[in-house]
Amino acid sequence: MATYLKLAWIFLKIGLIFFGGGYVLIPLLHRIMVDQFHWLSLKEFLDGVALSQLTPGPLAMLATFTGFKAGGFGGALISTVFIFLPCTLFMLVVSSRYEQFRSMELIRKTLDGILPAVVGLVAAAAWSLGRTSLFSARDFLLLAGGFLLLQFTRVSPMIVILGAGAIGLLFRFS
């Protein structure tokens, strides 16, 4: 019980300083999990980061891994709930004010004005992923195939993604 409370409190705090998300989180989590509480060894921490990146969830899924080590399945559940609690609550508050914001002309124009920046950020994600995973002609062929399928057919993207994963496993892509 004491372990659960401690996990809840610490992951709630991590969730609160979550703003900015992504990779600023890694040094912070490392300090807390490895140096301060000795929940994980350095190797376990790095393997945990790799595991969290295997899943569709955010990097903060590392909380699930750490919670599992510190307190089994219950620890994993509590850590996951509490690390995501602050950002989810905050997002619910922002969403609840959204319509009201948007009825003010100046804010509506501002919000519409930043849409091109959002597009730029989406494209930048494709660029970053491409820099670390496009090397051979095979990769570019898969990229072209995926793009064409998703742009011009109504085939479910889930089938395309899982299919590409199956192809990779089947032909032992290296």
């Binding site: 979550f18 703003f19 900015g20 998300g21 393997d47 945990g48 790799a50 969290s52 990146q53 295997l54 899943t55 569709p56 969830g57 955010p58 899924m61 699930t64 891994f65 599992f68 994993a76 559940l77 996951t80 995501f84 619910l92 922002v94 969403s95 948007r102 100046l106 501002t110 004005g113 930043i114 849409l115 091109p116 920046a117 959002v118 597009v119 730029g120 950020l121 989406v122 494209a123 930048a124 994600a125 992923l129 995973s133 990769d139 898969l142 990229l143 072209a144 195939g145 995926g146 793009f147 399928l149 998703l150 993207p157 889930m158 590409a164 994963g165 199956a166 192809i167 990779g168 032992r172």
Partner: protein, 186 residues
Amino acid sequence: MNEPTMKRVSLREIFTVFFRIGATGFGGGMAVVSLVERTCVQEKQWLELDEFMHGLAFGQIIGPFSLNSCTFVGYYLRGVAGGIAASVGFIAPSFFLISVLSWLYFQYHELPQLQSALRGTNPVIIGLILVAAAGMARSKVKGGDAWLMAGAAFAAAAFFDVGAPLILVAASLWSLGRAWYLREHA
């Protein structure tokens, strides 16, 4: 757009849709966002593209934007209960996957060898994100100013590693100043 949405989407459907996204959005981040956009904006037409992109912008400033954009869509459809159904649905598959993998890992101290599967999915995920970016650009980036902002945001993020929150705050200040100026000098 202040009228309540005509069709009332059930919480169960919200949960199911985001559970499915959470079970297939390998690559995380923008891969998930592209799936949400494709599913909720294009296919189900639950909300408009610009509304979704506003939610994405808030989500990026607040933190883990894949989760946040799910919460936003859920709230848009059914309020607090909808937001929670969407976020829990999205996180659940990753949670169970990591729980099982963690259990295996702490038993055997080895990572699953999934590298070859990821080598297959990564290029396709880039394709998915590019389709989403192209669609957004076609309908929301019009005129030289808009392309300049899109290019600047892209370059700042892709080449100079500037964080998304900073880019969006800068874009908001610019955009607010511009709207203000145009109003005062109309």
